[in-house]
């Protein structure tokens, strides 16, 4: 199948993104495809843990609610939905989507799942794999238990699912930009070794994958840049031509802003070397793209072939994130207010230090103190403010091996208000798992990718 152009929109840019934004884009954007990124590195860790608790879980927890809202309108307008919302369990996620479809509509719905990014068996058998960026360190040298290992996979199996007439494709650890490349492969019939085209497709996909971050999110700056109607922020939408060039805009009649600056800023989002953006489908060269304004809230994305290809041959390896259970993170928060509030917080810090020093049941692996309101969001390298605030939140955080140790530390916040200085107030505590996520590389052949189709009604 070859088409002239397709309209692709972003349904979500993060696991916790708004649910209504996708519905607005289906209603008003006239899109053919909508792609959902629902899986950050941190989100992946949470889903691995869910799957360990219950093997039926491990997919994005918003999945059912998301599809209850968007599936009906999408089917009505024949919008295909693709996402990595399968997370640690694509088949389980596809079952949820099928279940929603069964309740929603009488029409036939085809839900595909893409399995095979789980490579934990391989990693467990090859613990001498080195961690990317730390050439001397192997997976084996890490403290803790390996709980997951998933490879970033490319667009090919999703394009295959579209060729099998899927209405919805539920994938796991696919690369964000590859979600968007899949419809282009399917519609334009690009060859899997046309590195220039694939590089262009991945560039466009990268511009869309984080949702509203390219349409006015993280953009407003008092006195410098205004962004209209941020509460109704639109989602990015691209009309992609068969040569990869695109017009990028946003949900019609929405808040936000699209121009060459919002897109150029996003071009550099979470990449390393812009000349070599390593993706499972292609090594994309982001320094070749031109981004220009093309009317209000429209920008044109194009290439000049004389400047060389937008991509080169894909890597022979796939990047794998290895999740390691390292114990627990425990946080203790204490609000210190009024006369010499910062000094009182320092007194509490001393009490915590002394209590832990004399408690042989607790041995933090590492820990730190923060003074929220002084420098906590600006780094340890930030200078202290010249005037001290009248209230400050003291926070103690530690990594410990056992839950019992975490509980002992959490209790500190309860009695500190009694034994500490005058003027303490609100206190909080929080315990969560400490999961290390370490990148490594495995040969491409290790992933045996498989597309399953479920048809309902």
């Amino acid at each position: 199948m070859t088409n002239e152009s397709i309209r692709i929109g972003s349904g979500s840019g993060a696991r916790s993104d708004r649910l209504d934004a996708a519905v607005d884009l289906v209603d008003r954007g006239d899109v053919h495809y909508m792609c959902f990124d629902a899986m950050s590195e941190a989100g992946a860790a949470a889903q691995y843990l869910k799957k360990m608790e219950d093997p039926n879980l491990g997919y994005d927890l918003n999945l059912r609610e998301r599809f209850q809202l968007v599936l009906g309108p999408a089917l009505e307008r024949n919008v295909k939905l693709l996402g990595n919302f399968g997370a640690a369990n694509p088949l389980g996620g596809a079952r949820v989507v099928a279940d929603v479809a069964r309740q929603l509509t009488g029409r036939r719905v085809r839900v595909a799942s893409v399995e095979g990014d789980d490579v934990i068996e391989y990693v467990l058998a090859n613990r001498d794999l080195t961690i990317m960026g730390q050439h001397d360190q192997t997976i084996d040298s890490l403290e803790g238990t390996i709980i997951a290992a998933n490879a970033y996979i490319g667009a090919e199996p999703m394009a295959e699912a579209l060729a099998m007439d899927a209405d919805v494709v539920v994938a796991g650890r696919v690369s964000d930009a590859s979600l968007y490349l899949a419809p282009m492969l399917h519609e334009f019939g690009w060859s899997l070794d046309d590195w220039d085209r694939l590089g262009r497709g991945i560039t466009v996909g990268h511009l869309l994958e984080c949702g509203s971050v390219s349409t006015g999110g993280m953009w407003a700056e008092p006195g410098y840049r205004e962004v209209p109607r941020m509460a109704q922020m639109g989602m990015p939408l691209a009309v992609v031509q068969s040569d990869g060039t695109a017009d990028v805009s946003k949900t019609p009649d929405s808040g936000g802003v699209v121009n060459r600056f919002t897109l150029s800023a996003h071009l550099m989002h979470e990449i390393n070397d812009p000349k070599r953006y390593l993706n499972p489908d292609v090594v994309a060269d982001f320094t070749k793209v031109h981004i220009e304004d093309a009317g209000e809230d429209h920008a044109s994305v194009f290439w000049n072939s004389a400047e060389g290809p937008a991509g080169t041959r894909r890597p022979d390896t796939l990047k794998v994130l290895v999740g390691i259970d390292e114990g627990y993170l425990v946080d203790v928060w204490l609000l210190c207010s009024g006369y010499k509030a910062v000094e009182k917080a320092r007194m509490c810090e001393e009490i915590i230090r002394e209590r832990l020093e004399h408690n042989d049941k607790v041995t933090p692996l590492d820990d730190r103190f923060d003074y929220i309101g002084l420098t906590s969001g600006l780094g340890d390298s930030a200078p202290m403010p010249e005037t001290l605030p009248g209230e400050v939140m003291l926070r103690y955080a530690a990594r410990v091996r056992t839950h019992a140790e975490a509980l002992t530390i959490a209790r500190l916040s309860e009695y500190l208000i009694i034994i500490g200085p005058l003027g303490m107030g609100e206190r909080r505590q929080n315990i969560r798992k400490s999961i290390g996520i370490y990148p490594t590389l495995v040969p491409r052949e290790v992933c045996r990718l498989n597309v399953e189709m479920v048809e309902v009604n």
């Binding site: 929220i372 969001g377 390298s381």
Partner: protein, 105 residues
């Protein structure tokens, strides 16, 4: 030449890859790009964030969009799912934008 805050001529936004904090800087006006490229070096950014960047700062140029991509190695202590520090990947860049630069009049 006149001295301005980077905030007046550029924007920087954070992001993460594992334990590294990413801080791309976009210069709005091509006439200012060379000045920023010369003055906002990897070394200057490293000095600014010294205690937060155990692995040093790497810089990539993205000339087609007047961009400089800074990678702050190790600033996120092995990643958001294990770091003891607050998630400051989107806020640390506030201090980059407070830097003074000399731009042509």
């Amino acid at each position: 030449m006149s001295s301005v805050k980077l905030r007046a001529i550029a924007v920087a936004r954070g992001g993460d890859k594992g334990g590294d904090l990413h801080m791309p800087l976009l210069v709005f006006d091509r006439d200012h790009y060379d000045a920023v490229r010369e003055q906002v070096t990897a070394d200057r950014v490293h000095q600014l964030f010294l205690a937060d960047v155990p692995g040093g700062v790497e810089r990539f140029e993205v000339p087609n969009v007047c961009g400089l991509n800074f990678i702050l190695h190790g600033a996120l202590e092995g990643g958001r799912t294990r770091m003891l520090k607050f998630d400051y990947r989107f806020s640390l860049s506030e201090r980059l934008l407070d830097l003074d630069v000399e731009i042509p009049d």
